[in-house]
Symmetry: C2
Subunit: 452 residues, 2 copies
């Protein structure tokens, strides 16, 4: 037979079992956390009608999309989870209860230029709350609580949720008579972290055509720093001049007012006037999230409030608020930087049962008893020498090997070997299941992400 | 804005939240059961190099596949999970421990003619055990235990795992001097349930060219019925004439020998000589699974032993055994026939917290307390009249509404309303969480599939 060299396409993540188990653990934490806030799971097709997916059209999206025909159909793979959500909500408008809260953790596709750490197939983990006509600001206030729970769930405490409101920015630019340039200004200010204040000013003046005074006003504004209370107090000084600004400030205060009730510590939350989010899409609160010890990773969870989710598909005003975590990239970077906790279980089984007798029946029954005790058990089925069996247990990385020979069978026990310490003891099946379960649960409860 | 009518492509399942929760419950049961037997999760890309995916080439596959180019790349969407597994095992051969056990529950794509109950995007839930050079028969014996646990996990008891061995069939046809026609014969015999014995005989004689005597021998053979012990005893009468047959019988006996140790009741298992599985791929044990009260659904879990998983990609003999559940189709049929249990929770939250005061802080804090108590809680954030709030709770289908007004706050309690019975009582947050958790767990433990 002619051999075709196997390969996985570049830009597509394919993990070995140990890594996959850790990835799946992150997905599980996301699912559990999102579900605990009453979000319904959603699973839309990977393939959609290209006309529908590209209703908004234009720009980078069109170039990156995987689009093809099958028969007469013009098809495309989803490039995010928001457009399919818009389609879903418009299509099922009459069947859904609004506010409609959904989470979706699914793969999306972008045929970008292949590049280290960039993926063409990657998971997004999104939540959105969609209102029918109106959506209370309290929904925007709840989002930081969910972000907080997710990253605490990953085992982190050193992260910061940075929040701003687009109405404050747009209102402020209106005060300066710069409403027409607000998009350009925001995109420039967004680069502050990367290029510094001097270069931002240069672009504002030279490229966008602001006066020196206007540019200085903007830099002074976005330089407002301090505790949340201090920043909000400084913003009070700008009120009474522009309605949009005042509205934005009222919303920002509403978002920060109940942090304590939501259980979000001040230290994990910051009002940050430099956050704008490049997309025109957002109209109110915007969110970014940074790992304090790893600013180089950039925002690991972003989103915001928008006013018109599905205008391309339905004549209804459907405002919403949502966030997205680029899970594949996050996992890749964490792994590359050695931040995945090696203590987290990476073996496909908690115990490997090794039959030491000709008749496998007692070992089979033991494995079933251990499974009934709540642990993951692989029965070793091959006829090999003891040394080879133990080498397999080692390569698999199972924390426990459970040996069952004539002696153990006669005593109604099994020999449980801790593969790490080498310690071995004879236990009844019930004792063995309890001991292994305890050790595994301790390991399962450890942080996914290491905080050094 | 011009409106584009939203639609989901035909042949693509997209569920409303209530159904999605039930679907996800089945996925969770599959994941948990597969993991409990030491299978590692795997998540391969949806898109693969078309040359690699179609290494085997030919036939229906090539016609049905979604194949397209992007830049210079000839790409295709996976049409099953076995070919990607073969690629994965060949690619990562040196990094994997053999036997390699993996499960994958993922979507696959087949551009079939659209037809009621046929899907172009559907989930397969597969397990496979891959050996390096050899794989002990005990692995084949373990498979029925896993199938049994999965369907018991779904809440069923009236199902039957039907098992045969291709070596018995091939050996038997060799005895009749019909080795050359064995493929045609098996494909014909496979239709026995659908077309009956007379038509099978007619095809064997008229189309395949067997003598009347040969056809009668075959019909007599596949008519062997009875308990597992009776069928095995009848097969003993054919031994000593053909080595392949004897080997197959020895394997079949090994597969049935340890059923009790594996915890599989006789009533859920049957040696069935009519099972052949059409694919040439299988070489030993073959499996099908039927719901006894719904034979019309056909096999809901099938698979078998094969000798050469990855011969297209690597010069290694990699035998394996695996099964596959076509989950999307199974779910569709169960739903259509009304077999999904309506008692299974279908709401995205266990409780809806309704703030009854102007300040939302107490309700926010209550919702967080309830979540910490292990239940899924949606905080109702909108400013609406009480009647509208309750109408929303009804439409959402939440089992409990939790009301928090001035009176409750003063007492340190909340009012928990059972939405089904209408009963309402004042409880502390801890009592409320415990009461709701208890009710929800009872509902969660009910069977996914109804057995009437």
């Amino acid at each position: 037979m002619e051999i075709i060299k196997p390969r996985t396409l570049s830009g597509f993540m394919e993990l070995l079992p140990e890594k996959q188990l850790k990835f799946d653990k992150m997905v599980e934490i996301l699912r559990r956390t999102y579900a605990s806030y009453g979000f319904a799971p959603l699973d839309t097709p990977v393939i959609e009608d290209a006309q529908i997916l590209l209703a908004k059209g234009g720009g980078e999206t069109e170039k990156q999309i995987y689009r093809f025909t099958k028969g007469d159909s013009d098809l495309a793979l989803r490039f995010d989870l928001t457009v399919p959500l818009a389609k879903y909500v418009a299509l099922h408008y009459n069947e859904l209860a609004f506010p409609f809260r959904r989470f979706q953790i699914s793969k999306v596709y972008r045929g970008e230029r292949a590049q280290r750490g960039r993926f063409r197939e990657f998971y997004q983990a999104d939540i959105d709350i969609i209102g029918d006509g109106k959506l209370d600001i309290l929904n925007e206030a709840e989002i930081p609580a969910i972000i907080y729970k997710v990253f605490r769930g990953f085992g982190l405490s050193r992260f910061q949720i940075r929040v701003n409101n687009r109405k404050i920015l747009n209102g402020f630019y209106a005060m300066l008579g710069l409403s027409g340039q607000s998009g350009d200004i925001m995109r420039t200010v967004d680069k502050l972290d990367k290029i510094g204040a001097d270069k931002v000013k240069a672009i504002l003046v030279e490229d966008i055509g602001l006066t020196e005074a206007q540019a200085d006003e903007i830099l002074k504004f976005i330089a407002i720093r301090g505790t949340n209370a201090q920043v909000l107090a400084a913003l009070e000084g700008y009120t009474g001049r522009e309605e949009l600004f005042d509205q934005g400030l009222a919303e920002l205060k509403a978002v920060t007012a109940n942090l304590a009730a939501f259980g979000v510590p001040e230290g994990n939350f910051a009002v940050d006037l430099t956050i704008a989010r490049g997309l025109d899409y957002y109209t109110g609160t915007v969110y970014e999230t940074n790992l304090l010890d790893h600013p180089e990773i950039g925002s690991v969870c972003s989103g915001g409030r928008y006013d018109n989710l599905a205008g391309y598909y339905i004549e209804k005003q459907l405002p919403g608020v949502g966030i997205s975590i680029g899970l594949t990239r996050l996992f890749y970077v964490l792994d590359e930087q050695g931040l995945l906790n090696p203590e987290l279980p990476g073996a496909p089984a908690d115990a490997l049962v090794l039959p030491m007798t000709a008749d496998p029946a007692p070992a089979i029954a033991l494995a079933e008893q251990l499974r009934a005790g709540g642990i993951r058990v692989q029965l070793y089925c091959e006829q090999k020498k003891f040394k080879q069996k133990m080498a397999y247990a080692d390569k698999l990385g199972v924390p426990f090997a459970v040996l069952l020979g004539e002696d153990e069978i006669a005593e109604g026990k099994c020999s449980v070997k801790n593969m790490k310490s080498g310690a071995q003891e004879k236990l009844t099946p019930a004792e063995a299941a309890a001991a292994i379960r305890k050790a595994v649960q301790e390991a399962e409860n450890c942080a996914v992400i290491l905080e050094k």
